[in-house]
Amino acid sequence: MIPACRLADLPRGEAHRLDIDPPVSVFHTDDGELFAIDDTCTHQDASLADGWLEGCEVECPLHASKFDLRTGAVDAPPAKLPVRTHEVVVEDGTVYVRLSTDAPNLPPCVTARLAGGPA
């Protein structure tokens, strides 16, 4: 498990990005639920932590694809693939993330960067 942040430091309606590779974000919904998903939109290199959080959905800050925080599913293009979801655990006021072992669906430009190609 990876410690993400103190729960007290993550108000409702906010997100916290873990700068791991690939980055993961923890969202605290207005209803008080916590979810963790891959931070990078599957369409293009954009941080979903910067997105528009509404209910259990986050809308990509660039091109308006919405991801369901519970399942990772995307509602409509331009993004076509889901993001991975990760398990969130809160212990003693600290938010932890247990990373998924699935392969991430990263956008083409980020996949190229991770593979050592041109960004």
Partner: protein, 382 residues
Amino acid sequence: MVGASLAGLSAARSLRKQGFDGRLVVIGDELHRPYDRPPLSKEFLAGTLGEAELALEAQDEDLGAEWLLGARATGLDHARRAVRLADGREVRADGFVIATGAAARALPGSAGLAGVHTLRTLDDARALRDELARGGRLVVIGAGFVGAEVASTAYALGIDVTVVEAAPTPLAGPLGETMGAVVSALHTDHGVRLVCGVGVKGLSGEERVDAVLLEDGRSIPADIVVVGVGARPNVEWLEGSGIALDNGVKCGADGRTSLAGVVAVGDCANWYDPRAGHHRRVEHWTGARERPDAAVAALLAGGAVEPGVPRPPYFWSDQYGVRIQFAGHAAGADSVTVEAGSADGRDVLAVYRRAGDPVAVLGMNQPRLFMRWRKQLAATAS
């Protein structure tokens, strides 16, 4: 459904989502299934994104629609509830969604001259990409968003680029004078020549263009010319149908037209904006994506639903590695304040206000702050 691009596809999705299970025919004048146009001036033109990745439909998506592609609509016969096609066929229906989009304006007198391009469709983009791959000197006429993105992409491909703009400040319409100047300075930052405040008199060349002639007598040598001088709504086919046309199809705040059972969405539709108190034709990707939901609800309910307040219009542009985002309406603002970053640093977050109230926001490489302001704009608006 007349129109098979983003607005048409979004309307088809909305129809199914809202429970319409009847026969659905989608008519498109291009041969391609719905594809995403924004990358055509960027990643697709640069060669980093292929055609398969432009597809707007998910692989397992099935809307249960009949697609009539490569079929151009030539008329609407409202009394007989029929759309006529160029090949003589006719499609009859109980309801119609008009989503025929807009077409790139051409430069008068440029027809038939090789090396002269507009950029709107996938076929346009293929032709321009192939030509840019051969290199040469590029002149872009019009420093709007399409022109600026083509210039940026061509610059990155190592091509010598000049941008010509008739207005003294590029992008002054959408962004205002001050920020239009800031954003268009990205060209000169990168050594792309920007010639403003002078109109184009014509093009020279026999079979192939060799120069762009300016009204002040200058001549700019060119091997390739891209004309990016805006778009006009594709509504000529509706003339004589009885539908009200005024800068596109004139619509209410829910996309309903003057004809019962006919709604219009996307670039061809001039919707009434209740906040502004007048009609606005918005040519943004996000409008084509979001508005069909309301139009389809109105179509299915026969207009019995109260349309919600739409979010402030939003668009983005990527130029020279800078992500430009804009939401709201710059026209009518009486002040523009830099809230973060700086104009010179090309990382500005600027807020437009009228009488102290925010009416628009511009961000350059400021996605997080931009989203905060965009949400605030939407909250103020509703």
